[in-house]
């Protein structure tokens, strides 16, 4: 009988992955640390046109880009004269299953079906689960969604409970776990037991599925405004949203558009902590995922993640929980659309960043998500109160994640805070070369691409770390 202890299963992870994704990641590896990312993406074997056709046939994509005119007026009410960029939103909540995650799921599930898998398994507590379940329903495949849902008291995060309901409504089996990264252990066991496809968020299929979003934004903006957007803001967690969007933009235009990542600031809360689990009001789009995945993208559930945000990001900002809830309500009040709070993270950032751009500039917020019982900002604020979090009006800068949620007294108090990307680039390099004394020229090229930095920047850090370049790898 197979040894299914934690240690034994984790040691079989590469073998399980190979079977469940159908990609031999080893063939892309080069040098001591590098790998050929573009070859991995190319070998997935789907052109942009094919992806668009697959998505249109399954209720995904072609969502409207909407100008938020009243929302922009709120921005301008507190901007210096002549300032306050026009804000547009890509209403991704209108995809089947209610979020942009449908783009990621559509290609993954299509591919699983094509490869002859009987079902798909995915590890996610977010909208992606519902997206996979919805797409699996269309293709007649079985689906299993593994969620981190409850703390050890059995108290469930209402947003995740809602997502479980949605997954089950689409016919998926939902395996719910208490808090901890060993979720991956159960995930591996399920892949091994069922032989299903690993519909990971981080395969090339998942990222190719988002490229259509970036591509559409450029097309939509040209049609509606006659020009390119100046800035696109992506809510950032595992980095796939930003990576796919930026790649799609680059397919549509050679012109440079500033790509901004935005995450909810959850500093101080530990993502693997049973106690902290229900003290946060955002289950995704936050710094607890955004920062570690930026500096170590391969910490995901496949050997090499196709989500590599540091390659594409130009600016990374954080906003606070209370600010995002405020903006979620302002969107309802001024534009008459109710959308889920986590998806509005980038909208909160846009509110702040638009105030420092002239009126003729264009900002695109590239997603929205559905809302409803459990997910709604009212449900989340009420739940936070029930967990002892102090919800109040005040100066948002005083908010301490896990202790309070501070709703801004005035909208102009909303302020996106810039994170230091050079620091993240440095951490990215350190994480990758840790323990090595020498890397190859190919590795240097890889690190330069990974960090989207000058080669000299990379060389300086390597020199500080006493890592040599070229010659035979030690």
């Amino acid at each position: 009988m197979r040894d299914n202890s934690y240690r034994a299963v984790m040691s079989r992870r590469n073998e399980i992955m190979l079977k469940s994704v159908g990609i031999d990641y080893r063939k892309y590896e080069n040098g001591a640390i590098g790998f050929d990312y573009e070859a991995l993406m190319r070998d997935a074997g789907y052109s942009l046109d094919e992806v668009i056709a697959i998505q249109r046939a399954s209720g995904v994509g072609g969502t409207p880009l909407k100008e938020l005119k009243n929302f922009t007026r709120l921005v301008r009410a507190s901007s210096p004269p002549g300032y306050g960029a026009r804000i547009f939103i890509k209403d991704e909540a209108l995809n089947d299953s209610g979020s942009f995650k449908a783009r990621r799921a559509s290609l993954s599930v299509y591919h699983a079906k094509k490869m002859g898998y009987a079902g798909v398994v995915t590890a996610t507590s977010g909208n992606y689960g519902a997206a996979v379940a919805s797409q699996a329903a269309k293709h007649g495949l079985k689906a299993i969604v593994v969620q981190e849902c409850y703390d050890s008291r059995g108290v469930g995060q209402p947003e995740i409970i809602e997502k479980a309901r949605a997954c089950e409504a689409y016919g998926a089996e939902v395996v719910q776990l208490s808090v901890g990264p060993e979720l991956f252990y159960k995930f591996l066991l399920l892949l091994e037991e069922t032989g299903y496809f690993n519909a990971s968020l981080y395969t090339p299929y998942s990222i190719l599925g988002i490229e259509t979003l970036g591509y559409e934004i450029v097309e939509d903006a040209l049609r509606l405004t006659g020009r390119l957007p100046d800035m696109i803001i992506c809510t950032n967690a595992g980095g796939g949203n930003l990576t796919g969007t930026a790649r799609g933009v680059m397919r549509a235009t050679k012109e440079k558009i500033e790509i901004v990542g935005a995450s909810v600031n959850l500093a101080g809360l530990h993502m693997a902590s049973d106690h902290d689990f229900n003290r946060k009001s955002f289950t995704t789009g936050h710094t607890g995922f955004g920062v570690p995945f930026m500096t170590n993208p391969d910490r995901s559930d496949v050997p090499r993640s196709a989500a590599r945000p540091l390659r594409y990001i130009d600016r990374y900002v954080t906003v606070r929980q209370g600010e995002v809830f405020y903006i979620t309500e302002a969107l309802v009040a001024l534009e008459g659309i109710e959308r889920g709070p986590a998806g509005n993270t980038s909208l909160a950032a846009a509110f702040s960043l638009a105030r420092s751009l002239p009126e003729d500039k264009i900002i695109v917020v590239q997603e929205t998500e559905y809302t409803g019982a459990g997910k709604h900002h009212q449900a989340q604020l009420s739940f936070a109160r029930s967990q002892g979090i102090d919800v109040r009006f005040g100066d948002p800068r005083t908010e301490v994640p896990g202790r309070d949620i501070v709703l801004p007294e005035e909208p102009w108090m909303i302020e996106a805070f810039d994170l230091d990307l050079d620091y993240m680039r440095r951490r990215r390099i350190e994480n990758q070369v840790k323990g090595l004394r020498r890397i190859t020229d190919e590795d240097l090229e890889f690190l330069t691409a990974e960090t989207n930095a000058d080669e000299d920047f990379v060389r300086d850090i390597l020199e500080e770390m006493k890592v040599r370049i070229g010659g035979k790898v030690s």
């Binding site: 934690y6 009243n70 007026r73 709120l74 009410a77 079902g119 079985k142 689906a143 299993i144 849902c149 409850y150 050890s152 059995g154 469930g156 409970i161 809602e162 309901r165 089950e168 016919g171 998926a172 089996e173 939902v174 395996v175 719910q176 776990l177 208490s178 808090v179 901890g180 990264p181 060993e182 252990y185 159960k186 069922t194 530990h270 693997a272 902590s273 049973d274 106690h275 405020y326 309500e329 302002a330 309802v332 009040a333 001024l334 019982a373 459990g374 900002h377 009212q378 449900a379 989340q380 604020l381 009420s382 109160r385 029930s386 919800v391 109040r392 009006f393 709703l407 005035e410 909208p411």
Partner: protein, 99 residues
């Protein structure tokens, strides 16, 4: 007694505290990793019994029977009056000159 074939939820310990990963915070390491899963009950049983179920994908799982016909009880929570204030303020700023 819950009848064979009923739609139920079970609970099971996946990893005891001593089996949990090394690199996790103490508050998580001190408690077991628990799983909840739903399926069709394979034999008549009572709440609290150790039972086997067949999940919707046809897998077999065993664990403690915790509920029959498990319902979704999540909602919009208690009313949060602050949201009304935000709504009024945003409208006031944007539309005040039109009235």
């Amino acid at each position: 007694m819950i009848k064979k074939g009923a739609w139920v939820q079970i609970k099971k310990i996946i990893l005891a505290p001593e089996e949990r990963a090394e690199n996790i915070p103490a508050d998580s390491k001190n408690v077991p990793l628990i799983m909840w899963v739903k399926g069709f009950l394979l034999e008549d049983a009572a709440l609290g019994d150790e039972v086997a179920i067949e999940t919707i994908t046809g897998r077999l799982e065993k664990g403690t029977l915790v509920s029959a016909n498990p319902a979704y009880k999540h909602d919009y929570g208690d009313f949060v009056p602050e949201l009304l204030e935000i709504n009024k303020k945003a409208k006031g700023i944007v539309f005040e000159n039109e009235r």
